[in-house]
């Protein structure tokens, strides 16, 4: 079972991101469960959403305390909420930021995990470029597809088109694709450095 | 001879109907009337509500060709009309709860609409307690949505069925079991009664009217008018309660007439928030004439009397007369 935890702030589409991720997994013929954290929701307040993906029916319903994947939509959360709590040693981390992991001051946290699985993506910039609004949720899903290979870009595109329609859907798909390509390049670089 | 002849009811013995053209006669005058609330019910002698309900529902049955369903709130009417295992009702009738008659009516109307049964109409009815207090929310909701229901309130100005407790329709100074005629401020010392007809008008519904059991023709005409319209409609009928008002059981109709003739109970019609017709006072009388026969106001006349309160009630009557134009303008000689 793959457990993904998404952090962000109210109004950034965190819950939608988890839902789209579950639709993408469904599109690939897998079982998926997505649900929001149950805190008081308010624009700007920290929000957490969860997504489980498996090849069999998912019965577990507790909040995800040991995620395999962490997606952080808002880097200002990094020093307010312990987003890394419970992350598995082999876990993936994807942070929406122009800065690198080290530049974000996360170097020592990075030590605990696999360096090539910790990346940042300027998702808000990409979103602004394609969608015209700072909504990084779909963008980050495209990046995640590249990062992990656990979800395909096609499935992400399908999920986006299920949630949104018309121009907005296409803009989000373009943004997600852009992030996918961006991350592909970044991973090649990371591997090149590691070698 | 073309001059219309006006006949007035002068008590329970009415001569007018037999001399009128058939189409001008009341529903009650007809042997074919539906008798929707059949005899054998357990109402008190002189019950204004039993009378009002019979008048109103029979008129509604005729107006709808007997295609009528009634929702009834808990209260005197419901209790005395359905003593288990009997029922006096000759039409489909449901009693649900105290405060939800309007909502139940809404539900029935929705069912008829969804089933395409356009010819079947709905009335919801209750006393003042079930209408102005506990049923107020549902009533307002029904008005606001303009649901196709005629709501009839039989107003005897207190919670009679449970022993004459004060309701928001209880007039100022009246004695009830929870506003006893004792102490420095005897009777209902606060408020003057919630004006449901005006509140109904504020919802701008198609039709609002008030009536009393003293004028049968008027009441029936208003029911007929209401049933000729669709949407939310409200009829507020003053129905004296001999027991609760401390009046003689033969005075029911007389007291209803006096309520009108003093100006304390304005009789009028309104459509979409605008008054369209009023029943003028033929022979204006001071409020004392109305108050004296009722023991619930006896404390106003005991000892030295309570001139201030009587004056306040008179002022209320005067205001109604002014506000609704209830008295013909008299030319000064």
């Amino acid at each position: 079972m793959l457990q993904i935890r998404i952090h962000g702030r109210g109004g950034q589409g965190v819950v939608t991101a988890a839902e789209m991720l579950s639709v993408a997994a469904f599109e690939q013929g897998r079982h998926a469960q997505a649900f929001p954290s149950f805190g008081s929701e308010r624009t700007g307040a920290p929000v957490v959403a969860f997504c489980r993906i498996d090849d069999r029916e998912i019965r577990l319903r507790e909040p995800i305390v040991e995620p395999d994947v962490l997606i952080v939509q808002d880097p200002t959360l990094l020093h307010q909420v312990d987003v890394f709590q419970g992350l598995k040693p082999d876990g993936y981390v994807l942070i929406n930021s122009r800065r690198s992991f080290d530049e974000l001051g996360l170097a020592d946290i990075a030590q605990r995990f696999r360096r090539e699985r910790l990346v940042t993506v300027p998702a808000t910039d990409i979103a602004l470029k394609h969608i015209g609004r700072p909504l990084p949720n779909a963008v980050l899903l495209g990046a995640f597809a590249a990062l992990s290979g656990l979800i395909t870009l096609e499935a992400v595109a399908h999920a986006i088109r299920e949630k949104f329609s018309g121009r907005i859907a296409e803009a989000n798909v373009a943004a997600a694709t852009d992030a996918f390509d961006y991350l592909r390049r970044e991973i090649e670089e990371l591997h090149a450095h590691a070698d | 001879m073309n001059q219309p002849i006006k006949f007035y009811q002068t008590g329970t013995f009415t001569v007018g109907n037999r001399l009128l053209a058939p189409e001008q006669r009341t529903v009650q005058a007809s042997a074919e009337r539906s008798n929707s609330i059949n005899s054998g019910h357990r109402a008190c002698q002189g019950c204004g509500e039993a009378l009002g309900a019979r008048y109103a529902v029979d008129a509604a049955m005729r107006a709808t060709n007997n295609q009528l369903i009634a929702a009834n709130a808990t209260g005197c009417l419901e209790v005395f009309s359905t003593p288990y295992p009997e029922t006096s009702w000759q039409l489909p009738w449901i009693h649900s709860l105290f405060g939800n008659a309007a909502a139940v009516g809404t539900g029935i109307a929705a069912a008829m609409k969804v089933k395409g049964r356009k010819e079947v109409r709905v009335i919801a009815q209750g006393g003042d307690g079930g209408t102005t207090d506990i049923g107020f929310g549902c009533l307002s909701g029904m008005f606001e949505r303009n649901d196709d229901v005629l709501y009839i309130c039989y107003d005897n100005e207190a919670y009679m069925n449970t022993g004459v407790q004060r309701s928001s329709a209880t007039p100022h100074a009246a004695r009830t079991a929870t506003t006893m005629a004792v102490g420095p401020e005897p009777g209902a010392s606060f408020g003057q009664g919630k004006n449901l007809p005006l509140i109904a008008m504020a919802h701008e519904i198609p039709y609002v009217a008030t009536a009393t059991v003293a004028d049968l023709h008027d009441l029936e005409a208003k029911v007929e008018k209401a049933m000729s319209l669709h949407g939310a409609r409200y009829l507020h009928v003053l129905v004296p309660c001999p027991l609760g008002w401390g009046a003689a059981s033969h005075d029911t109709i007389r007291l209803a007439r006096l309520a009108h003739e003093t100006g304390l109970f304005p009789v009028f019609e309104a459509e979409r928030g605008e008054v369209t017709a009023v029943s003028k006072i033929r022979h204006r009388v001071p409020v004392e004439d109305y108050l004296k026969p009722q023991k619930r106001f006896a404390h106003l006349f005991a000892g030295a009397g309570d001139a201030a309160t009587i004056a306040r009630l008179q002022a209320e009557a005067d205001r109604n007369i002014r506000r609704f134009g209830l008295v013909e303008e008299r030319e000064t000689a």
Binding site: D82 | W89, P92, N100, A103
Partner: protein
């Protein structure tokens, strides 16, 4: 057809497939998405003919349903928590009159203190009124149960409450198999009322009944629920035959065959329990889960049959009878009367507190070792409780309880889970 949608939307579509004629509802978290979904289906013409009424309170919602149902229309509403209480008088009225209304209760805690999250206190508060109460473990089951509910309600002329955990199920996206209209039509015939307001054949409904017949009228409600004990498994079987999957029924046993310890529960927590039980079984513990699907009528015989071979029974419930302990466990005890086994009540998850596999594993290990007290509150912060009790001992004007405790908890928003 398989789809990945929100639980509320799955329920809305399933209800729509049942061709309700009158839908009336008042918004309350966490049921809102259900009625919004239905409202949209009516407005865009997908669900027709149907009257969707925006009522002004939950009391009005149930009252409108009563009027509509009595006039022969298939009627539906949904609520939760405070809303269920606000309509309580009408809820009793509906079952007392024998009207086959179907209602979704998106289980939520009841205040004070105000709390929008999941537990079972709302449906439990109405367990005596005569409504049948079915509990769903997953969104698939939630949608399936609504279809079964209309059939059950109309056959018996009794209203049915379908209970699904608020947020945990209503707001979760899951894979569901949505039936076709043709299949639902074949399973659920049009509503044929036992009593109906019709000018062609006038009847009076809602008479006052005194001591001479009240007991008999109320007994008949009980008799109907007793009939339901037979009918519920049959309807579940008919459903399985037509739709190809098991949903509903009275109870469902998981790994109970040779179990020495059986955990009894309802609703979505059963899923987490099954995962926990699998882990414990792998460690050699002989433990199983009994999920109660029909809470009213309470399946005494089925529960007894499932539990009588065990040494100990742990009732894990999201409900709480203040002053006594368990709600569900009290009913389970009735089923077990005369049998000698250890019984434990574990109250968990009140007000939406997460029930985790690790807490369950720890608690069940204690139970298996017979170290658990008869009544426990899982994951209760005793420090917080005792600090408040001390506060109250030391000063009269100790202030509002909830505010004191929240000050102890500190900022919630920065917590991860």
């Amino acid at each position: 057809m398989l789809m990945q949608i929100e639980g509320s939307q799955a329920v809305a579509r399933a209800v729509a497939l049942c061709r309700p004629e009158v839908i009336c509802a008042y918004p309350i978290s966490p049921q809102t998405h259900i009625v919004e979904g239905l409202g949209e289906l009516v407005k865009d013409g997908t669900l027709a003919p149907c009257e969707f009424i925006n009522v002004e309170s939950e009391f009005a919602a149930m009252s409108v349903a009563i009027g509509a149902s009595a006039a022969g229309a298939r009627s539906y509403t949904a609520t939760a928590s405070q809303g269920l209480l606000f309509m309580a008088e009408a809820v009793y009225n509906a079952s007392g009159l024998g009207l086959p209304i179907v209602m979704t209760v998106a289980n939520r805690a009841i205040g004070a203190p105000i709390n929008i999250w999941n537990d079972h206190s709302d449906s439990m508060s109405q367990r005596d009124c005569g409504w049948l109460q079915l509990f769903a473990e997953s969104n698939q089951e939630a949608l399936d149960l609504h279809i079964q509910a209309f059939k059950l309600a109309e056959e018996l002329s009794m209203p049915v409450m379908v209970c699904m955990d608020g947020f945990i199920l209503t707001h979760a996206y899951e894979r569901v198999d949505m039936p076709t209209q043709a299949d639902v039509d074949a399973f659920l015939p049009p509503y044929e009322p036992r009593q109906v307001l019709d000018p062609a054949e006038p009847v009076s409904i809602g008479a006052m009944v005194g001591p001479e017949a009240f007991m008999e009228v109320r007994y008949l409600a009980h008799a109907k629920q007793t009939m339901a004990l037979e009918r519920i498994p049959q309807i579940a079987a008919e459903f399985a035959q037509r739709f190809g999957r098991t949903s509903g029924g009275l109870v469902r046993a998981y790994r109970c065959e040779d179990a020495e310890t059986i955990v009894v529960s309802l609703g979505s927590v059963v899923g987490t329990l099954e995962e926990t039980i699998d882990d414990l079984r792998a460690q050699g513990v002989k433990i199983g889960v009994l999920a109660i699907r029909s809470f009213r009528p309470f399946p005494l015989a089925a529960v007894r049959a499932a539990l009588e071979g065990a040494k100990r029974v742990v009732v894990l419930e999201k409900s709480f009878c203040v002053g006594l302990g368990g709600v569900v466990s009290t009913d389970v005890r009735v089923a077990l009367s005369g049998l000698q086994l250890h019984g434990y009540t574990v109250v968990a998850g009140l007000g939406g507190r997460a029930i985790t596999k690790s807490s369950l594993a720890r608690t069940l290990a204690e139970a298996v070792a017979d170290r658990l007290p008869p009544l426990t509150f899982m994951d209760l912060d005793w420090g917080m409780v005792n600090r408040q009790l001390e506060r109250e001992k030391s000063i009269r004007r100790s202030g509002p309880v909830a505010e004191n405790l929240l000050r102890d908890v500190g900022s919630v928003a920065s917590k991860v889970a």
